[in-house]
């Protein structure tokens, strides 16, 4: 018997057509779409007189530009309004299910897929969004595609793909208190670099990954793309099955038991190999804070802003110099001395219940520092928002001086009104600190939800392990 890793198993199960020396035609089980990257795909389909092959396997949601304040007010942004209308029209014409902005199930596309049970182990899932890697947390081969490929999948329910290399990232040992899934993935990206995973599909393993909740595993897989790999995955286990049972689109009763039997086979065979293996020790990872303009420019909260000459490669020196200039930071500044203007807890990386619960626990009974101009909590979905409100988290946050908002991509990408102003500095639980990402000339520091919450209270970065540590899990 040929030994296979998880990626090879899912790949082999989805080959529709293959011939030597050519990329294969692979089947796509679930196609997720949103307003931002789909209008041109639907237009292309229409102009060629093609149909959506499997509207039943296609799910649409409005997330990128939706307002996070009152949804019943008219949409002010005319371009965004036209895009929402186009999505609604395209879905109605092609019979694709749409969670529009007033749906009780609306949320960020990568949040609602798993939340509603649309995402299931062993599937192939694509979406015109690079953070589709999130769904890999369920042992799913999931990756982002461009709009031309969105059109391709709408028309054929297939994609033409070459096989990727495989990378095994093993995180050994136990995660220390105050160190979260976000810190693990930022530490990984810091180690391999933002192009380190290019051409690869990553499988995560090791004790520290197994110990993560599904929310945590999704955070890790979500940011896999920031290390250059299009897809990251974790083999499904009892944690996965417990999360899934009873969710709306998941098989029920005996069918669920049968599905679990099949899903249990979705793991890398003992003795199967990978093209590359990277190992980390969870015990050596501290809370991470990015200091630069890509997610690989990261250090521990106990560290300092680096000097360009700390790097050997002249290209890295130049990049560091330019990043520090953009970020308005001086080399040698302790990370904990960096003041923060705004705090954003949200995005497809960190807006799930685990994230909100941990942040709420930390801020309960405290108040946002006077110097903080705004502290936003944006739940990833309306389902999460409703559950959080049932648990009273909204009150904890608002009493502490945070704003409690409706679900969407919000300040991660700043396509709606939630924009970080020029030269202001954020502690953000999102995934990208690129120049201009949260707003033109804005300065983003990526951190975990508890680190963001602690920065909101203190007004600057603090080591969450020393900050009321009793409350930090």
């Amino acid at each position: 018997m040929t030994l296979k890793n998880l990626y090879q198993k899912i790949w082999d199960d989805h080959v529709v057509h293959e011939e030597p020396g050519k990329p294969s035609v692979i089947y796509i089980d679930r196609h997720l779409i949103h307003e931002g990257t789909s209008p041109q795909a639907f237009a292309g389909l229409k102009s060629e007189g093609r149909k959506v092959r499997r509207p039943d396997l296609t799910f649409a949601v409005m997330d990128h530009s939706v307002p996070t304040k009152d949804r019943l007010l008219p949409i002010v942004d005319q371009d965004a309004k036209l895009q929402f209308e186009a999505l609604a029209r395209n879905c109605a014409e092609t019979n694709v299910r749409l969670f529009d902005m007033n749906s009780q199930n609306q949320g960020i596309v990568h949040i609602i897929g798993p939340e509603l049970g649309i995402t299931q182990p062993g599937q192939t899932i694509v979406c015109g969004d690079s953070h589709t890697s999130t769904h890999g947390a369920f042992g799913t081969l999931a990756f982002g595609i461009g709009t031309s490929e969105v059109e391709h999948v709408l028309a054929t329910q297939c994609l033409v793909q070459g096989k990727s290399k495989t990378m095994h990232i093993v995180v050994n040992g136990k995660r220390p208190k105050g160190v979260t899934a976000k810190d693990i993935i930022l530490a990984i990206i810091g180690k391999i670099g933002i192009g380190g995973g290019t051409g690869c599909v990553v499988e995560y393993g090791g004790e520290a990954i197994r110990a993560l909740s599904m929310d945590g595993r999704m955070t890790v897989c979500n940011m896999t793309i920031e290390g250059g790999a299009r897809a990251g995955m974790v083999a499904p286990d009892d944690t996965t099955f417990a999360y899934m049972e009873g969710r709306p689109f998941v098989p029920r009763g005996k069918d669920f038991q049968n599905a679990v039997e099949r899903w249990r086979l979705l793991k890398t065979d003992d003795g199967a190999t990978f093209d590359m293996t990277i190992e980390l020790r969870a015990g050596e990872i501290g809370p991470q804070v990015t200091w630069g303009t890509n997610p690989g420019m990261v250090t521990s909260v106990t560290g300092r802003v680096p000097d360009p000459h700390d790097f050997k490669d002249p290209n890295d020196q130049k990049a560091t110099e330019s990043a520090l200039k953009y970020m308005g930071l001086k080399s040698g500044t302790p990370i904990v001395d960096i003041p923060v203007d705004r705090v954003f807890i949200g995005s497809c990386t960190n807006s799930r219940l685990d994230d909100l619960r941990a942040a709420a626990q930390l801020v309960a009974g405290k108040h946002v520092a006077k110097t903080i101009k705004q502290a936003l909590i944006v739940p990833g979905s309306r389902g999460i928002k409703a559950q959080a409100e049932k648990e009273g988290l909204d009150k904890v946050f608002t009493q502490a001086g945070f704003e409690w908002r409706d679900a969407g991509c919000s300040m991660c990408i700043g396509m709606n009104a939630d924009v970080l102003p020029p030269h202001e500095r954020s502690a953000s639980t999102s995934n990208r600190n690129f120049e201009g990402r949260q707003g033109r000339d804005s300065r983003t520091h990526l951190v975990s939800p508890v680190m963001a919450a602690a920065a909101a209270i203190a007004g600057h970065f603090v080591d969450v392990r020393e900050f009321d540590v009793a409350h930090v899990e």
């Binding site: 299910r97 969670f99 007033n102 690079s130 709009t147 290019t198 709306p248 069918d255």
Partner: protein
């Protein structure tokens, strides 16, 4: 799609590693409904000062690079967001070829959907091209896809690697949806064979979605 066979043109150097697609086409331009017009806003935040005044310090605005159609870049070009608006902008501006030591996967893939050749050269070769471009005003390169070569007028010739299937797509300007639809029978067969485990469960307690589902 417009086929790509050979191309000769002025080179513009973008001397920065890890250029992400947010820089090529910032978020505010992702609300478009068409694929057109992204050339004007390519590299928007670097290219324009307040009021869309051209930034004289950004290489794209240097008079000597006006009309460039070959973009010389550094490692991991096109990282980050999957937005195809980035290659739409690159193409619409007038670039037909990008030369870099490496690309991010999704961007690389998107180039082939738009008739752009993302050529890969060794780092020292790219260094040499940067030096020649800086030194010589009007420095141009000729790119020959069938022979996989990049050459200048001084006898420099580099060869680049490209997967044969990728090469064919560019040379013939193939419509890949049309190609895949030739396998329609195989797709039907796949769906039949997997029907028992691919059942889509109708949601039990989804609160609301439109279209009458």
């Amino acid at each position: 799609m417009q086929p790509f066979i050979t191309h000769a043109g002025l080179v513009m150097p973008l001397d920065k590693v890890n250029v992400d697609t947010d820089q090529m086409v910032p978020k505010q331009f992702l609300k478009a409904l068409t694929r057109e017009g992204f050339g004007r806003i390519l590299f928007y935040d670097w290219r324009y000062l307040a009021g869309e005044k051209p930034n004289p310090d950004f290489v794209l605005n240097f008079p000597r690079y006006k009309g460039a159609s070959v973009l010389l870049a550094r490692t991991n070009f096109g990282c980050g967001s999957s937005r195809e608006h980035a290659p739409w902008g690159v193409k619409d501006y007038g670039f037909r070829v990008i030369i870099a030591p490496s690309y991010a996967d999704i961007f690389y893939n998107n180039c082939f959907k738009n008739g752009i050749l993302p050529a890969i050269l060794e780092e020292d070769e790219v260094d040499e091209l940067f030096q020649r471009t800086e030194k010589e005003q009007g420095y141009s390169l000729s790119v020959d896809l069938p022979n996989q070569t990049i050459s200048d007028q001084h006898g420099l010739i580099y060869t680049f690697e490209i997967a044969p299937s990728r090469k064919e797509v560019l040379l013939k300007g193939l419509d890949d949806i049309g190609q895949t639809l030739q396998h329609a029978a195989a797709i039907d067969d796949y769906e039949k064979a997997h029907a028992s485990t691919a059942t889509m469960y109708q949601a039990v307690d989804v609160k609301y979605y439109s279209n009458g589902h």
